[in-house]
């Protein structure tokens, strides 16, 4: 039977495709049909948090830090409640990572503060003696790309119906406002100021006072949102 195919390249290729695609059809498709639903309390990222998430991606923090707590006692003791599928529904892309050179960060917002992150990113060994993480001092100088984050929020709202400007739990309040570009800019700067108030770096404080948001501020906003 296979002999026949070996003389007919077209049909051979078709047969290979069927063999190869079979597993994907069985494994991947069913999970898509059953769309994952958000866990109660899971909200879309604000524009500032999205900008921070993009800094996290740009500097490939996921190369060394996972965001997936496995259901083992040792992990829930160390990091908190194990991860649930519904917590990730607004994560595009997912950031589970595949290697823990550093600890898991899925609930880092529960036990680290703005101040801790500030010191950690500038000089990791100052808060964790023996750390092999490099310094990310450039994040204090580089300005976060808020426009791209706004563009991303608008895109996911339009294309995937991510619930921005929506009252999620029926209490009459909009949970995550997005609004127009100007409104989003103003809201983002307000959030950034709240974070910069907890920071010590004078250059960062000055930048935010002047309406510019350094990457570190956005990154901390994102890390604080991981709970």
């Amino acid at each position: 039977m296979f002999h026949w195919f070996e003389q007919r390249p077209f049909f051979f290729a078709v047969l290979v495709f069927i063999f190869v695609a079979f597993a994907g059809i069985v494994e991947v498709i069913p999970d898509f049909a059953k769309q994952s639903r958000p866990t109660v309390g899971t909200k879309p990222y604000t524009v500032l948090e999205l900008a921070g998430r993009n800094v996290y991606i740009k500097d490939s923090c996921n190369a060394c830090h996972s965001q997936l707590i496995r259901p083992f006692k040792s992990e829930t003791d160390r990091y908190g409640m194990y991860s649930l599928s519904g917590e990730y529904v607004y994560d595009r892309p997912f950031l589970w990572g595949s290697k823990r050179t550093g600890p898991d960060l899925h609930r880092v917002g529960n036990y680290r503060t703005t101040d801790w992150h500030e010191n950690h990113m500038m000089d990791p060994a100052s808060v964790v003696p023996g750390s092999i993480m490099p310094s990310y001092a450039h994040q204090f100088k580089n300005i976060a790309d808020i426009d791209t984050a706004y563009g991303e929020a608008v895109t996911v709202k339009k294309v995937f119906n991510t619930p921005y400007d929506v009252d999620l739990n029926g209490d009459g309040k909009i949970d995550v406002p997005l609004g127009t570009y100007e409104e989003a800019k103003a809201e983002t700067l307000k959030e950034a100021k709240a974070i910069a108030a907890d920071m010590k770096n004078q250059a960062v404080k000055d930048a935010v006072a002047n309406g510019q948001i350094p990457e570190i501020v956005a990154l901390i906003a994102y890390l604080n949102s991981l709970k």
Binding site: N54, S60, L68, V89, P103, T148, Y150, V154, T155, K158
Partner: protein, 488 residues
């Protein structure tokens, strides 16, 4: 054989890809060794500001080695051996030569741009699919060009039956096409919203679904870049070099179709204990173990091809390279399934055992096989003997030592780390803080870095030997039938 004598082959495209295999091999492995040293000596990570950190360099290492070095080797192998197996020359079709050259040009531009965009921080963060959407489109274009080359050459062939290697090349083309397209579905944000950077995109899938598609792709990128096309190479080059027939045709069929059917199921083993459904995790785990059969099928078929001719190991360095490659293929395809067993995975996942596993496969199997293939091709492409046998031998032993240092240190590191993460004291509290599990690994990171360095030095020897062969090797008056001629 008469046919062969008449056909004059065109090696321009194969030579171009041989060049990029060496170039991107050096770049990718140098970055890899840098990363290894950065983990052992963290201060090295801050020498070049944001452009020198471990995290920024890591995707450059993986992309350059997988898509720069390995794919170049595969394409070089294709443009060389397809003409011979199909008994047709590229010279007979100006169209296919043009397609081949365009394929090379676009490929080269993509990898080049890939290195710089990753350095600048443009990444989608999905492992081995980091390149942003404009580069993804370029990749699809040259992949289709390669498809035209495959089916074009097959279309004008003189040999009716397709040899085993061609099966594997067709499978590579189809498998990667499907996986790549699905996993890289993304929406460019600036095009939809009108705001921000035009390079930025978001994934079509979110959260758990995104992870599922990513590891269905990620694992099978290993299948269809590191396994299937490399088997295509060994099925041609080992019998050719040793002058022996492939041991069993039946085993070839069984191993090929078995691999095609089983491999794709195994992606789920990257997601054990994650939030994907349990049945998927179990399926990934079980199918990974079944995968031993077709993998060992081809490896055993290769080793038995040497039956009765084992003395060639002593006389022919290229046979040594290929037999070692097969052996490492067997090692990593038994190691993978072991790691996919749920209870083992609970310890191994997220640890250094994972890069250890990847590297005994890529250093021992993939790179050894590609270097052997290029060594075999060089005298026939350039009409010259391999420049130095002693350099080749030294390279072999240096790199073998490097691999052993690499995987043994990473096995110990991974298991140590996994055990320490879950250790409790007698009062039921965690015994170690996370940083304890980091500092204890330092000696292993140093050993790994040294292993990597030895391997890199061996690769430089390979590059030098290839360069000298092309420019200064002793001229051959006629093409050797099998065993590659090597100067003393």
């Amino acid at each position: 054989m008469q046919n062969n004598a008449r056909v004059e082959y065109d090696y321009s495209v194969a030579k171009a890809f041989t060049f990029t295999a060496i170039l991107f091999g050096i770049v990718g492995m140098m970055v890899g060794v840098t990363l290894a040293f950065q983990l052992a000596f963290p201060h090295l990570s801050n020498l070049a500001g944001e452009y020198g950190t471990f995290s920024r360099l890591r995707p450059i290492h993986t992309n350059t080695v997988i898509f720069g070095f390995t794919l170049s080797g595969i394409f070089a192998g294709w443009y060389y051996m397809a003409q011979r197996i199909l008994k047709v020359s590229l010279k007979e079709s100006p169209f296919l030569i043009f397609i081949g050259k365009l394929h090379f040009l676009l490929y080269f531009i993509t990898i080049f741009l890939g290195i710089f965009t990753l350095l600048a921080g443009y990444t989608t963060s999905k492992e081995y699919a980091e390149l942003e959407w404009p580069l993804d489109i370029l990749i699809v274009i040259w992949w289709v060009l390669w498809g035209i080359s495959i089916f074009g050459l097959i279309g004008i062939r003189r040999e009716r039956t397709l040899y085993v290697s061609i099966w594997y090349f067709i499978a590579t083309f189809i498998g990667v096409s499907m996986l790549y397209l699905f996993n890289n579905m993304e929406v460019p944000t600036a095009l939809v919203s009108g705001y921000g950077s035009w390079m930025h995109s978001v994934s079509m899938y979110s959260g758990t679904n995104d992870a599922l598609v990513q590891w269905w792709y990620g694992h099978n990128a290993v299948a269809f870049v590191f396994t299937v096309p490399i088997i295509a190479l060994i099925y041609y080059f080992l019998p050719k070099e040793s002058g022996q027939n492939v041991y069993s045709y039946k085993l070839s069929i069984l191993a090929f179709w078995g691999l095609m059917f089983v491999y794709l199921w195994a992606g789920g083993h990257h997601l054990i204990y994650s939030t994907v459904p349990d049945w998927l995790q179990t399926m990934g785990s079980v199918m990974s173990i079944v995968l031993i059969l077709p993998s060992w099928g081809s490896a055993i078929n290769m080793l038995l091809t040497m039956k009765g001719e084992w003395q060639q190991l002593q006389t022919n360095t290229l046979i040594k390279f290929m037999v070692l490659a097969s052996t490492f293929y067997m090692l990593s395809t038994i190691e993978g399934p072991i790691m996919a067993i749920k209870s083992v995975n609970a310890i191994a996942h997220f640890t250094d055992w994972v890069p250890g596993h990847v590297h005994d496969g890529t250093l021992g199997w993939v790179t050894f096989m590609i270097m052997a293939a290029l060594y075999h091709m060089a005298p026939r492409m350039y009409g010259r003997e391999i420049y130095s046998k002693s350099l080749m031998d030294t390279q072999f032993w240096l790199q073998s030592t490097g691999i052993v240092l690499y995987f043994t240190s990473m096995w110990i590191a991974g298991i140590t780390q996994g055990m320490m993460w879950r250790a409790y004291d007698e009062y039921g509290s965690l015994l170690y803080s996370f940083i304890d599990t980091v500092t204890v690994l330092k000696p292993y990171y140093t050993i790994r870095a040294v292993g990597g360095l030895l391997y890199l030095i061996g690769f430089f020897m390979f590059a030098y030997n290839m360069y000298k062969t092309a420019t200064a090797g002793r001229v051959l008056d006629k093409e050797p039938i099998n065993a590659t001629p090597v100067a003393a």
